[in-house]
């Protein structure tokens, strides 16, 4: 292992690395040992604290919670992509009357915490129109306006990164601004920004857990329900570990998709003229992509 930061180790460095390796293992091992010891001493590994996993009713509740999480994620992802495109078009508009409101919306929503944005329909609707909005939609609202604004900036950056000659060529062959955006600029921007867009969708998936704060019955909320039961010894840590593992796996799969796409679009390079073109000697990509 060598990198630009350090040389191929000589005998003295190898000895030092060996010592550091052992030291690193000892430090990490110490933390793991202390953590596991603590968990064991406080009885977190006792069978009764994990028994709940075998109960079918609890499994069904957790599954329902996960489905609720995915529902909020799916709705918020689609809606924030739509909102992102609309706001990006607004931000890129040559008309100040369109550009300024879009800029204001993006600035304000990006500066507010998602929890506060979820509180708006959650508490606001009750005192303004007297009825409460279903919690799912409060969660989706908060996630959509925030991530829509972030995605708008990503789309905009993508469009601005497309070489200027593309837009000029588009207007030279008589495309209107809208056509040029739709046919020429956006496809290239989305392609270049796809890894960033998917990373933002991972954020959407993670942030669905904020629904817990307003009481939306998602995965963590269902998990908390188990921790109220004293017959399982109020298993807060086992539940947090299981729920956390489910989230980590789900988010990792999405992240993995982002890295895959990033690696694949690595095969696209810029020619000296600033023209984006696939490397000619690679196999043609499948059409459905």
């Amino acid at each position: 292992m060598s990198s630009v930061l350090f040389d191929e180790p000589g005998p003295a460095a190898r000895r030092r690395h060996a010592i550091l390796t052992v030291l690193g293992l000892v430090v990490v091992g110490f933390f793991v040992f202390v953590a596991i010891g603590r968990l064991h001493e406080s009885g977190q590994f006792e069978g009764r604290r994990w028994e709940w996993i075998q109960y079918e009713g609890i499994q069904r509740n957790l599954l329902a919670g996960f489905v609720a999480t995915l529902k909020a994620f799916g709705l918020a992802a689609v809606l924030s992509l739509v909102l992102g495109v609309i706001l990006a078009i607004g931000r890129l508009s040559p008309r100040a009357a369109v550009r300024w409101p879009a800029t204001a919306v993006v600035t304000v929503f990006r500066a507010l915490p998602v929890v506060v944005l979820m509180f708006f329909p959650y508490l606001g609707a009750r005192s303004l129109i007297g009825t409460s909005i279903p919690l799912l939609w409060c969660v989706v609202f908060g996630l959509t306006v925030y991530n829509g604004s972030v995605l708008a900036e990503i789309f905009r950056a993508g469009v601005l990164a497309v070489p200027g000659g593309q837009a000029e060529a588009a207007s030279a062959i008589g495309l209107t601004r809208g056509q040029s955006l739709r046919i020429v600029l956006f496809p290239q921007a989305v392609r270049a920004m796809l890894p960033t867009i998917i990373s933002q969708l991972v954020v959407v998936l993670k942030d669905t857990a904020l629904g817990f704060v307003i009481g939306y019955q998602e995965l963590l909320f269902e998990g908390q329900g188990i921790t109220d039961e004293s017959r399982f010894g109020r298993p807060i840590i086992p539940v947090a570990l299981v729920v956390g593992a489910i989230y980590v796996v789900a988010c990792s799969l999405l992240s993995l998709l982002a890295t895959r796409i990033e690696r694949r679009s690595g095969a696209i390079r810029r020619r000296p003229g600033g023209f984006v073109d696939p490397i000619p000697d690679t196999a043609p990509a499948p059409l459905a992509s």
């Binding site: 292992m1 060598s2 990198s3 630009v4 930061l5 350090f6 040389d7 180790p9 460095a13 690395h17 550091l20 390796t21 052992v22 690193g24 293992l25 990490v28 603590r38 968990l39 001493e41 406080s42 977190q44 600035t107 304000v108 500066a111 507010l112 915490p113 998602v114 929890v115 506060v116 509180f119 708006f120 508490l123 606001g124 009750r126 005192s127 303004l128 991972v202 993670k206 942030d207 669905t208 857990a209 904020l210 817990f212 704060v213 963590l220 998990g223 908390q224 921790t227 109020r234 807060i236 840590i237 947090a240 570990l241 729920v243 956390g244 989230y247 980590v248 988010c251 990792s252 992240s255």
Partner: protein, 214 residues
Amino acid sequence: MDVIIDNADRFWVGMQTTLSLTAASALVALVLGVILAACRVSPVPSLRLPAAGFVNLMQNLPLTVLFFLVVFGAPKVDIRGTSYWTRAVIALGLYTAAFVCEVVRSGINTVPAGQAEAARAIGLGFTQNLRLVILPQALRSVVGPMASTLIALTKNTSVAVGFAVLELTSVVNQLNETGDAVPGLFGVALCYLILILAMSWVFELVERKVAFQR
């Protein structure tokens, strides 16, 4: 508007808690994050792999779940005597450290390879290379991304509202009890807006001061 003025003291207390949460967890995150970044680029696998694992874990774990684990879980393993505020700082600090680590690491990657090669050529070792040549340049170029990370941290402190910390967002809940949810919402949103925009303005000034064209 009257509601906001009448409850100015609550907003002020909430704002103070949000600020103290931010400052304390930023300190934890910066220190831990730089150490993690050094581990992640180090030649020693037993430091590199755990650091990478920690960062990956934090990037894929919702902050709310981490809060749940740390805030509600700590008393379960007989860690007592810590306040909700302290536990919130630990959760926020651990979470943000992973993002600080990635920012610093990408900053290290922006330093041209020639700099590190020159440092090696004059006989500097890994730590000297990092400390004297790479990090001083890397840390300058990360001001922008680091600012975004700290702003995200400030907004993330609002998760603490679900875990018994009376920070700025909790003012909405307090006012909701007296039936003033709507002015509370707008007051809190205004406070965040001022705080976040002021922060990004200050960071922009700093960035302009320390940034240099490569």
